[in-house]
Symmetry: C2
Subunit: 200 residues, 2 copies
């Protein structure tokens, strides 16, 4: 329904010359720079929040271990995050997303300065989406195992290990929080970037 | 590369008047309707693919059960998907995403017809992102438990149940495929919608 509109906006010949010279910047004519700059600043702040969340989660999970005060002649009872592959994946996923967020911050700063950028926003949306999927996968796999550690499963004969490893379990449960907070923040990031795109 | 185009299209004074009246619609001058329509059609097809994937996963997981041919006086050995909360979550997540995809198809068809729509695309991006997170969470939690069922975990004393419930395990492993395929498709969907937005 908008095709008819294409013919608009008369330009004087001077203006035409300017347009030809400026090239791409002529696209940003309809931008309300103030609002887009505001969005870019919120984007930057949210990235920092997600960064702290994933970093905290990775460190909290990665440094968790508990050694029980009793042991037999052969076995010392000790729980570490890398006893369970899901927790290893959780730490890796959080580290990768954290690294990505660090790398994306310079681009986010560029968006604050040049708030009419579009192609770089599209690139960020794509990587944000991929990283959201990775982070969600890691957090969710770890959450499934944490649930199992707390409750066990009668039908599969899997016992709740949290009765023995109490502080280990509290620590791994807590480390999920940062990750799930980062998931919510990343959904907001993708929405904000799309909203900035629509304003052109 | 399309900037040069905008200085073309001389306007008669009548056309100018039309422009002034129409106001906001003048934004869409840079649209190439053909390309955006192509994107909308791909979007629609991908939605159908994701729909089939999630529906297949939900049905495959939801109808899985295995009764072992031997039993004691008190217990019959029987495995069903809802013995494990993660699998229940998997079925629910896939059903919700499948329902959402069905509901989003009319809007996708509208985008094929009115390929310059923008606000409705933004709404789709937001819900697509939320559904991507839900679907990934479900698939990943189920995958963590499937892995455990196959391999068990020596440190936590959880035994591999797949040695007994062989066909049950094969079925639940297979049902993950549709879900993970749908995740990839939904990442593409979000990227395509953003790409359509940028073309304005």
């Amino acid at each position: 329904m908008k095709e008819a509109v294409e013919i608009e906006q008369p330009l004087s010949s001077t203006q035409r010359a300017v347009v030809v010279e400026k090239g791409e910047s002529s696209r940003s004519r309809y931008v309300a720079p103030g609002l887009n700059r505001g969005i870019s600043i919120i984007d930057l702040v949210l990235r920092l929040v997600a960064l702290v969340g994933t970093l905290g989660s990775a460190i909290a999970m990665g440094t968790t271990n508990e050694t029980l005060p009793f042991f037999t002649q052969f076995i010392q009872f000790r729980a570490e995050y890398n006893d369970l592959p899901s927790f290893t994946f959780f730490v890796i996923a959080n580290s990768v997303v954290c690294t990505y967020l660090v790398l994306s911050i310079p681009l986010a700063i560029v968006h604050v300065i040049r708030s009419s950028a579009r192609h770089s926003r599209l690139i960020l949306i794509f990587f944000d989406t991929a990283m959201l999927a990775l982070l969600t996968a890691g957090a969710s796999a770890a959450a499934a195992i944490v649930y199992l550690a707390h409750k066990g499963n009668v039908r599969a004969n899997w016992f709740a290990i949290c009765q023995q490893f109490n502080s280990f379990c509290e620590r791994i449960s807590g480390s999920l929080i940062g990750s799930f907070a980062a998931i919510v923040v990343m959904i907001l990031l993708i929405f904000l970037s799309s909203f900035a795109l629509i304003r052109h």
